[in-house]
């Protein structure tokens, strides 16, 4: 997993970049970022205790900026051990795809406030190291909601800088969670047919009962070559209700390079 994700993403981008390089009106960018995420979470299916720790966290994103809108496809990956305050531990892995679209028909793309929407898909899996049975639990959700972006460019000592904050709030979608005791979602094994089975395991995701929102604040230093180096701070929360509730809180600090593809 650790290895294949950036590999496949880059392969995809190589192919994708080649296909879209012909667009003359657009700009294509690639982001690569890596850093640490302080994650805290609770899964009632395991314990009433909070498990937290510093995980490694990386992301790779691809963005297309056309005159009227900006689209970003961001793949995220986090992995590491979390412990509770008595030293019990679990290993938590997250993989997600976070897509943004922002509209800037009336104002320049480089500056100001832009509205848009976002789509978030997150898969979380954790293995408890102290439990011999039912030690694996996971959850997944996909949801859409509004997004907001604020960009403020400035100069400092003759260099170009940019402050950018993105916010997203997931409103409606679907979720799948591990069952009351075991790893398989409730209802998954009742029938033998694959798809009917899957449908039984899917629950709705509604803002109010479920939550997922986050910010991405970046301080970006744009190089004369058009590439940039940046530091990003990325707080986020998520909470899935029903069955055994799952809550999570993450704060990642990342160093990031942006590569202008065209």
């Amino acid at each position: 997993m650790r290895f294949f994700s950036p590999y496949f993403i880059l392969s995809f981008l190589l192919a994708f970049g080649a296909a879209t390089a012909a667009y003359s009106q657009t700009k294509g960018n690639l982001w690569l970022a890596t850093g640490l995420q302080l994650q805290s979470g609770r899964d009632r299916g395991f314990s009433p205790m909070i498990y937290s720790g510093n995980r490694s966290f990386s992301l790779a994103a691809f963005g297309i900026e056309s005159p009227h809108k900006t689209e970003t496809f961001q793949f995220e990956f986090g992995y590491g051990p979390l412990t509770n305050r008595f030293g019990n531990s679990l290993n938590a892995l997250s993989a997600g795809l976070l897509n943004y679209t922002f509209y800037h028909k009336e104002s320049p793309a480089e500056r100001g406030l832009h509205w848009g929407w976002s789509n978030q898909n997150v898969f979380n899996i954790r293995r408890h190291n102290g439990f011999t049975n039912y030690s694996l639990r996971y959850d997944y959700f996909t949801a859409i909601g509004p997004a907001l972006r604020y960009t403020y460019p400035f100069e400092w000592k003759g260099q170009s800088f940019k402050w950018q904050t993105l916010a997203h709030w997931q409103v409606v979608g679907f979720q799948i969670k591990s069952g009351y005791i075991g790893a398989d979602p409730e209802g998954l094994s009742e029938e033998k047919t694959g798809f009917g089975n899957l449908l039984r395991a899917v629950d709705p995701f509604f803002a109010g009962k479920e939550w997922s929102m986050g910010l991405e604040s970046s301080l970006i230093w744009t190089l004369p070559t058009g590439n940039s180096l940046a530091i990003r701070y990325r707080p986020e929360i998520s909470s899935l209700g029903g069955g055994q509730p799952v809550q999570r809180l993450g704060q990642a600090v990342l160093v990031m390079v942006t590569i202008r593809l065209w």
């Binding site: 009433p48 008595f86 100001g112 102290g130 039912y134 069952g179 009351y180 929102m213 910010l215």
Partner: protein, 334 residues
């Protein structure tokens, strides 16, 4: 432009203030809180209340009165251990680092029926084979296999040699007395080497919600013949009251096979797969969260009955004989 940035500061502060709301701090480690958490989790997820006719509300009333927030950790441990003892279940433990509570009544009141020193000296000898966790020796043209814990993994090559030696013998004895269980996959692998065809041997269901009768559907448990080749001659499985958990499942698999029979005393039980939990003071515990029944809807929790009931005879032991092994040998040589 900068004015618009205010939205964002509001957002940032909102998000940061969510922390306590989304993820409240850990519950208090006070004895009353600890007691309530444990009682409630057992109430929600334990699987044998109605089968064992346990009134868990009544248990709460008895023990809750004795909890107070100024009691010591040792007293609290003893109280909780006593409460869990009422479940009469070998798959229930409370682990604290200084002690681990358990209920071993399922074997402590019954004859031991197993003497390891005797088996090493009189049966295994010094030249027995060691194939991973399987210790085996040929006794009067019969292959005797001793397996002490299903927690020890059997590899394919371990099993291969046992099957090959079995094929050159007049039958197999599998001794799982005192085997306290372990991993179900080892039980399935070992039993699969003696199965001629696919067969259902039990059905299992799992708790699916906090209600006392909230269970998922009964799922069949199926044994498949080992793909590398099987031994379909006669097999005698030796069990005692200390054959527990995965060993009960193994006994049930073998009992279902037409070419195998169980000899000795019934197994200790352990038909519920345990789920784990944590208390706010860091102690961990486990208890059964599933039910397993045989093909006649008898709970494996009550133990798997043998086909031939036989206890170890002190007089035979005095002669240096294990009369269970001797009985199995004469059965197989008949």
């Amino acid at each position: 432009m900068v004015k618009q940035a205010r939205y964002f500061w509001i957002l940032v502060f909102f998000l940061l203030s969510c922390e306590q709301w989304v993820l409240p701090t850990d519950p208090s480690p006070d004895p009353i809180e600890v007691f309530d958490r444990l009682w409630e989790d057992v109430n929600d997820r334990y699987s044998f209340f109605s089968h064992k006719a346990i009134d868990w509300e009544q248990v709460r009333e008895t023990y809750r009165a004795r909890v107070s927030d100024d009691m010591g950790q040792l007293e609290l441990y003893e109280l909780l251990a006593d409460m869990l003892f009422e479940l009469r279940d070998g798959h229930v433990n409370l682990s604290t680092g200084f002690n681990r509570s358990r209920n071993w009544d399922w074997y402590q009141e019954f004859p031991v029926n197993y003497d390891e020193n005797l088996i090493e000296q009189e049966y295994l000898g010094t030249d027995y084979w060691i194939s991973g966790p399987l210790l085996h020796q040929v006794l009067d043209e019969v292959l005797y296999v001793n397996y002490r814990s299903f927690a020890q993994r059997i590899s394919e090559s371990n099993l291969q040699v046992v099957v090959e030696r079995a094929k050159r013998s007049r039958g197999v004895i599998i001794d799982v007395r005192n085997n306290g269980g372990g991993n179900l996959s080892n039980a399935e692998l070992l039993a699969s080497a003696f199965a001629e065809e696919e067969m259902e041997y039990a059905r299992q269901r799992i708790k699916s919600g906090p209600g006392p009768e909230e269970f998922g559907p009964w799922e069949p448990m199926v044994l498949n013949p080992w793909e590398e080749g099987t031994f379909t001659g006669l097999v005698v499985v030796l069990t005692n009251r200390r054959s527990y958990s995965a060993t009960s499942f193994f006994a049930q698999m073998m009992k279902t096979l037409p070419n195998a029979l169980l000899l000795g005393d019934q197994t200790g039980g352990g038909g519920g797969t345990p789920v784990f939990g944590e208390l706010p003071n860091g102690w961990t515990y486990r208890f059964s969260a599933t039910q397993t029944v045989d093909l006649e809807n008898r709970q494996l929790e009550d133990g798997v009955l043998v086909d031939l009931r036989l206890d170890l005879d002190p007089a035979a032991m005095q002669r240096g004989e294990d009369n269970l092994i001797e009985a199995a040998i004469s059965l197989l040589r008949r």
